[in-house]
């Protein structure tokens, strides 16, 4: 990653993160957010994580390499979903995801 591009990515994202971390603590000392804003902010994590998972799994050219290579990430992801529901552990999800992905790729 070129240094210039890293600096833009890092400083811009950090500015946004720092704003979200500090602004409400100062603005709302002794007050609370409106329920509508709280509700909208609460929907960001599920929408964002679902979008990221779909972004990784959905590929218009996935079947160009054949049916099985296209299905490998979906089957591995289904396995990770089971682990996520059972354990809620980031570590176990990452471990099971890697193991499933490697094993399925070897078939």
């Amino acid at each position: 990653m070129p240094v210039n591009e890293f600096l833009v990515l890092w400083l811009s994202s950090w500015a946004a993160i720092a704003f979200f971390r500090t602004a409400p603590a100062f603005a709302l000392r002794g007050r609370t957010l409106s329920p509508r804003i709280t509700e909208a902010l609460g929907y960001i994590p599920p929408a964002a994580f679902a979008a990221l998972v779909a972004n990784d799994l959905v590929s218009p050219s996935a079947f160009d390499a054949g049916l099985w290579p296209a299905l490998v990430p979906w089957i591995a992801a289904a396995g990770v979903v089971v682990v996520a529901v059972k354990t809620k552990s980031m570590l176990w999800c990452c471990v099971s995801g890697i193991v499933l992905y490697i094993v399925l790729s070897l078939i």
Partner: protein, 230 residues
């Protein structure tokens, strides 16, 4: 005081090492130098944001779109910051800034519980706790990047670590009608964007669409509930 806090927080520190090292390896895969990994990790201190940057960078998504996505997912810190604000009323502006600027999810949970209990815990203790966790995360990620530079990890496998982490974070969300609508709408919108050749803006646009559809759905159901009540 530091030892007392370490005794409270050591299980979280172990988790940070376990997640931070692979995160650093993946950051190294994007071509980040160890100093970049340390700078980014010790200022962001958000696994999801860091994994997101790597994941979208490896997928060739343009920089503005990555920044918008990271900003969107980091907006949850506003909720933590807002909910901890009432407990910092006795703190000076400098102390408030120090605690809020270094807030992490796990530190927020511990600090809030301690501040509510009021058991010999104040802004100073919260700040030291945040610094300990930030240092643990920053060093773990950097060590991961250094080790990852020696060990060759295939990009597809590294990217799937991110996917697995996002699945875990997705299924850790509260199961409510609004959350399900936001998640399903977001995922479907991404698929539509990608099939329309709009991969560059797929993630941030889908987040906005998911939130809008969930809010609209809430408004419809709330309106129906009010009519039924009448």
């Amino acid at each position: 005081m530091v030892l007392k806090i370490v005794r409270t927080v050591w299980p979280v520190m172990l988790t940070y090492v376990a997640i931070g090292a692979p995160c650093g390896m993946i950051m190294g895969q994007t071509g980040m130098e160890p100093w970049m990994v340390f700078a980014l990790s010790s200022t962001f201190v958000t696994g999801s944001g860091q994994f997101m940057i790597c994941n979208l960078w490896l997928a060739g998504v343009p920089t503005p779109s990555i920044i918008a996505s990271v900003a969107a997912i980091s907006s949850r810190f506003a909720l933590y910051s807002a909910s901890i604000a009432p407990h910092l009323t006795g703190a000076s502006k400098r102390q408030t800034l120090a605690v809020a600027a270094t807030l992490t999810e796990e530190a927020y949970g511990i600090s809030l519980a301690k501040l509510v209990e009021g058991e010999d815990w104040g802004p100073r203790e919260s700040f030291v706790l945040n610094v300990i966790l930030i240092a643990t995360w920053g060093v773990s990620c950097t060590m991961g990047a250094i080790v990852g530079a020696v060990v060759d990890v295939p990009t597809a496998i590294a990217a799937f670590v991110c996917t697995s982490l996002f699945i875990c974070l997705l299924f850790s969300q509260r199961l409510s009608r609004g959350n399900v609508v936001a998640a399903v709408s977001g995922a479907v919108f991404v698929a539509v964007c990608k099939f329309l050749g709009l991969a560059n803006i797929a993630v941030p646009a889908s987040v906005v669409a998911g939130i809008a559809i969930a809010l609209a759905c809430d408004a419809v159901f709330d309106g129906r509930g009010a009519r039924d009540a009448r």
